[in-house]
Subunit: 381 residues, 2 copies
């Protein structure tokens, strides 16, 4: 099988991730930060180690500012529901995933939140100055994706962070797509809250993710529970990460996530990005002559996180994806990718899109086979 659905869940994982998860489960998986016995301490150390790896990777100093979550969706909800309140205004983009826009629309409906959605061009490129223009006296948050999960369009994060700093508005980055190949510098980019999944570009297992919240930014909680700290209090402790991290965490998953990030660091973020660029470019070149192939992603690798979004003229995306899977053994994802906004921007709400997303483990040969398959499918249309 040729797996080109890495924007959903990366596969395969580095060997170290499989081994680390198994070793943790078999050898030392007790409750981290709870008991004081040897195995509990070993689990606690392993979780702390992963926290440190992640803090270093995203360039924030205090690993305790990171709360582990089950996925990016949970992290985004904690950030959005924890920070925004009645009468607040939020600015977001036309390329957001449902994990950003659905919590916002729910707050709009239930708590009077005002939402401004910044429009982009036909590929979802936005002008950061449009964000500045949308700022109102009650604007409290800018929420933007690092890159689109539909077509890989990279957002001008650094510029958005600059505007957020200049206007004193908090900046929430949804790093779900692009993390693990685009450099994300929480401090340098002026990111106040950073939500990320573990199971996509960071090469960790499913069931992992996290939220970084900068020092001094206080969130209301959407969940409370046991934290292993201040147990005598009937209220959630104020200290981080306990404030946002209740109940037993996914220790084996977190261990795997740490090892996934270590793999990326050893591979080299630049090398990894180049590899994905090379594959994406090869895909474009292989198909560019074919007039029945309609592209919805940018061929300029500087603004594409590694996604090829296409349709075959007059054919439903699901059908193409289905044939690729059944006839050629190529895994892609068709449809709307949980991102109505982005498809609305690209004009593909009805047809959907066939999405090809690459990882460091894909090879040029796999791309060649895929391009050949697409050309064959087009011939038969």
């Amino acid at each position: 099988m040729i797996y080109l659905d890495n924007a959903a869940t990366s596969y395969p994982k580095p060997e170290a991730v499989y081994n680390g998860v198994e070793r943790c489960m078999r050898e030392y998986c007790a409750n981290p930060g709870r008991g004081g016995h040897e195995m509990s301490i070993a689990s606690g150390k392993a979780v702390l180690y992963a926290r440190e790896i992640i803090a270093a990777f995203f360039n924030f100093k205090n690993p305790m500012l990171l709360s582990f979550t089950k996925n990016a969706t949970e992290a985004l909800n904690i950030a959005i529901k924890g920070y925004l309140g009645h009468g607040d205004h939020v600015i977001t983009t036309c390329m957001e995933h449902n994990s950003v826009i659905r919590p916002l629309k729910t707050l709009e409906r239930d708590a009077g939140l005002e939402i401004s959605i910044i429009r982009g061009d036909m590929l979802g490129r936005i002008d950061p100055e449009d964000i500045r223009k949308a700022v109102k006296p009650n604007t409290r948050l800018i929420a933007a994706t690092l890159s689109s999960n539909v077509n890989g369009m990279i957002m001008p994060v650094r510029e958005i962070g600059k505007i957020a700093r200049e206007t004193g508005i908090a900046f929430l980055l949804d790093a779900s797509q692009g993390v693990g190949s685009i450099d994300v510098d929480a401090i340098g980019m002026g990111i106040d809250m950073l939500a990320f999944p573990g199971h996509k570009g960071l090469m960790g297992p499913q069931g992992t993710g996290g939220l970084y919240v900068r020092e001094g930014l206080k969130l209301k909680t959407i969940m409370e529970g046991g934290t292993g700290s201040n147990s005598e209090s009937l209220y959630q402790p104020e200290i981080m990460p306990d404030l946002l991290e209740s109940g037993t965490v996914n220790t084996p998953g977190i261990v795997g996530l740490g090892l996934g990030i270590e793999f990326i660091r050893e591979f080299g973020l630049d090398k990894l990005r180049s590899h994905k660029h090379m594959l994406t470019k090869r895909f474009y070149e292989g198909l560019s002559e074919n007039k029945k192939a309609i592209f919805y992603s940018s061929p300029d690798m500087e603004e594409n996180s590694g996604i090829i979004a296409i349709n075959i003229k007059d054919v439903d995306s699901s059908e193409v994806s289905h044939v690729l899977d059944r006839v050629y053994g190529i895994a892609t994802r068709a449809g709307l990718h949980c991102s109505f906004l982005a498809h609305n921007t690209l004009g593909t709400v009805k047809s959907g899109i066939v999405r090809f997303s690459v990882s460091c483990f894909n090879t040029p040969e796999e791309i060649d086979v895929t391009v050949k398959a697409l050309n064959e499918i087009i011939l038969k249309v």
Copy 2:
């Protein structure tokens, strides 16, 4: 090492759980319910299979009424925050974990929730009729634990469910402790919402848990996001489990959880309970002559889910636990166990308690070694 901290996280897991998690990760872990390709379908089938196992285990018919969560804490928050609103009254017990009482106290503080806490006797036994007496016109929920995580006291769940049905009040069961050895029959016990962790008695991996919500009971959401369904809507779909299950789930963890429950079913719930009873009874008998051992759990196995809660006279629980770990290699948990209410009931807020919690993998020999160790420690006091 002798592991007696199974009430925190069960260890070890059945071999099938380790193998199933690894096989899933290595062989077929894509996004369940998202793409239509072979691996995504395999993941989807594996998650559905686990949903069916869990529905059968808890005796509810429609597996789609189960939402997977990262742990019981998330499930409890979804239930409590999703069901209760301003001016509502909730009845709960004196033996609840912070994962129940902290969300309730937060709603009391922020949304005017009224809370009645039913008191128990010295071991936390409650009289279900006290619940009936506490019912007020605005009572909307009874929230109770299946058994205490501090001393294993089993709550009169069937009677509580009966009162809930008779008064038309919803019943939320926190099955965190005792699940996997006490029979939990969602329909038969009149349970409207059932929250459970995967990593304790159900022998699954950390990072798993779930919430069953009976047909027709509608919850507000505390999180929204991508569901792979109704992607063209900017609001959360109303269908279950999507309403309460956003973002990528922990497929390998869920696979492991399903295998953990299959192991329990094969082992036999009755046999498993008998085994735990035998171990707990042996522990009691071994220590009962020692007058310096103070017991806070019931020796009657019909009301104890498999926890021995003790203190050694005049010695702090942490110190005993520490010596057990360092000198004897016995893993226990001291302190307050994230349950102020229960310790308040038992009168152990200052000293804490040394908790010994057994699983089906503990042996009589391990209990004997532990009892011997405790007798030695007491001699040295």
